[in-house]
């Protein structure tokens, strides 16, 4: 049986030993990119501009109570009786989960079973949930992105399956850029198996270059910024 690994690595090693470095190549890593851009002053304003340019609806709320009221209002507008939600401690808004329960809205956990038929059954059961609710690890101001890390109680499907995604972000979680985010979270790959940067609602322009939203992921994204 051919050993693909051995053959591929041997060819690579042999070819690189034989030839010179490729154009602009160097055995030294070029280091980080030193940006000369000054960090913006008002990150909340910047991220709001970027999010709105992406057709994301941004809600500014002064505190947890106002944010909670806003989230419940968004659910009511959509006639949502169930929500696919992250666990309470990850929602960036103490008290929000209790308020949802009190409001009579069912909170579906993001848990997916490992077994094949159970998994399919669970997915079928939550397929008609209209809204997903998450917190976020950070907001990236220059691109209008939400950084979400997966983990216990923080399922990927909450920001993916339902047609509407509501994300709660605290103002002090907003950083200038992905680079700044990585500097603040140097071990982010250890924090969860999935880091996703969400930059607006799902979209495609495959048909005649015509922009359409809500292809596979959520077509409507709401970000509630607290503080």
């Amino acid at each position: 049986m051919t050993d693909g690994r051995f053959n591929v690595l041997s060819t690579i090693d042999r070819q690189l030993r034989r030839g010179t470095l490729p154009p602009s190549g160097s055995l030294q890593h070029p280091g980080g990119f030193a940006s000369r851009q000054a960090a913006p002053v008002d990150l909340v304003a910047q991220i709001t501009r970027e999010l709105e340019a992406l057709a994301v609806t941004v809600h500014h709320e002064a505190d947890d109570r106002a944010a909670t009221a806003r989230v419940l209002a968004l659910f009511d507008e959509r006639g949502a009786s169930r929500v696919l939600a992250w666990d309470p401690e990850w929602l960036n808004c103490p008290g929000l989960s209790n308020a949802i329960d009190a409001h009579g809205i069912g909170r579906e956990p993001c848990w997916l079973p490992a077994g094949a038929s159970e998994r399919r059954a669970r997915l079928a059961a939550i397929d008609d949930v209209r809204v997903g609710l998450t917190g976020a690890l950070a907001g990236l101001a220059d691109t209008g992105s939400l950084a979400l890390v997966s983990g216990p109680g923080r399922g990927r499907i909450a920001s993916l399956l339902p047609p509407v995604h509501v994300a709660v972000l605290r103002a002090d979680q907003i950083v200038p850029s992905f680079g700044a985010f990585l500097a603040a979270h140097p071990h982010v790959a250890d924090e969860g198996s999935n880091l996703v940067l969400i930059t607006g609602p799902s979209r495609t322009a495959d048909i005649e270059m015509t922009l359409t939203r809500g292809v596979h992921g959520p077509g409507h994204v709401h970000v509630v910024i607290i503080g």
């Binding site: 693909g4 690579i12 070819q15 851009q37 998994r119 495959d206 005649e208 270059m209 359409t212």
Partner: protein, 493 residues
Amino acid sequence: MTSSPLNFYTRVDRALRDPALGAAMERATKKLVSGREAGMAAFPEADAVRDHARRIRAHTIGKLGHYLRQFETAVHARGGHVHWAETAEQAVAIVAEIASQHGVRTAVKSKSMVSEEIDLNAALARAGVDVLETDLGEFIVQVDKDHPSHIVAPIIHKNRHDIAKSFRGLGATDDDVIDVPQMTAFARRLLRAGFLKADMGISGGNFGVAETGSLCICTNEGNGRLTTTLPRVHVALMGIERLVPTLSDLDVMLQLLGRSATGQKLTVYTNIISGPRRGAQGATGATGATGAQGAQGAQGAQGAAESDGPEHLHIVLVDNGRSGLLGGELAEILYCIRCGACLNACPVYQQVGGHAYGSVYPGPVGAVLTPGLRGLAGWEELPQASSLCGACREICPVRIDIPRMLLSLRAESTRLRLTPAWATFGLWLLGRLAVRPRAFRGAQRLAARATRLLARDGWIRKLPGHLSAWTRQRDFPAFASETFMQRWERRGR
């Protein structure tokens, strides 16, 4: 890898005679180019970032063995599997074997050029696995039994009527195809059903990060996330050259990929996957930063395990000719980040579209990569189908010198005698004459007499032999009755 049994000139001829294709190409490439221009204009450090990105790619390719080993170790540490496929056949066999091991009957697939390159879907079908393409453009290509014609926008050669027709074949009603949003909604419903029951998700990979063993997948639709989250098994195919050393290096690439492709700062979903679901059965290694992991055990322990994600992650590294380019003239093509900008800027691609190239990788990058990976024989026209205008080199985010490599392939074609004999002879003759000025001048006088015989009003409507290809399209001027050098000498200077 081949997408057509017809020969190159036939494909080109068909493309040039198709006004609908011409209109579609013009609309799409103009939009993508102007999108990119706007995106780059609003990106103050674009030039510096491009230079830096080029250095990162060059460094990585120059130490590819080292970074691949590092990547493999890191993926293993997170509970993922890495497979090495030297050839397309091996890659297909590996995926089929994984499918068989997990009892896979249906698979959903997000966009992967490598999978097209190795012709994966057909092979999996033969192995009894139903593969559903979920990227909207690729889904339509699959329904039509067609081939993508652009590496980022697969169906830019189709218009809405083409697509409505295809959807009607799947049961769409008139309302379902009445406009683009309705057609998209129809596709979403259909594909959703596939997502919810698939046993396996197959994806590509835009970049691999060696240091953390991460895979980065950039999509706009969300199918990339669904494919790599819902099914229990995730198989990712990635060319061996798609690595960057660190997450910070990935950041540099991400600053360029979206802007260069369409003008977007980032695609909607930048999905960075570091191993399968953690705390799940079969996963080992690094745990989340929160919660008590250890004693609880993996399966069913909801407090310890991640909520969702695939139970198993398999990354298939595909060589298929890439390693052979290292250390040679074409190594630079491995820097490519598959943004598609060179296609959009290329006047030849704009005129003939992707199918004319007959390969999974069309346009300028394909004109180098296809003969590079597969050899020139059978692909010798691709490097010739260029006026060497340099628009590709100008627009490439990592400044790949594609014209240099096209010339290198042309030289190789000459050595292999794949170029037409009349041209090779003509150039040899030109060379022999050019180093003997008196013979050159004699030849000029002959040519002047001949062209003036053929010409009327100073123009020739039909040149003889192979040169008649010129006069198919335009007139040829007669040689001047006296050359510059003759007149100059006559003036006594």
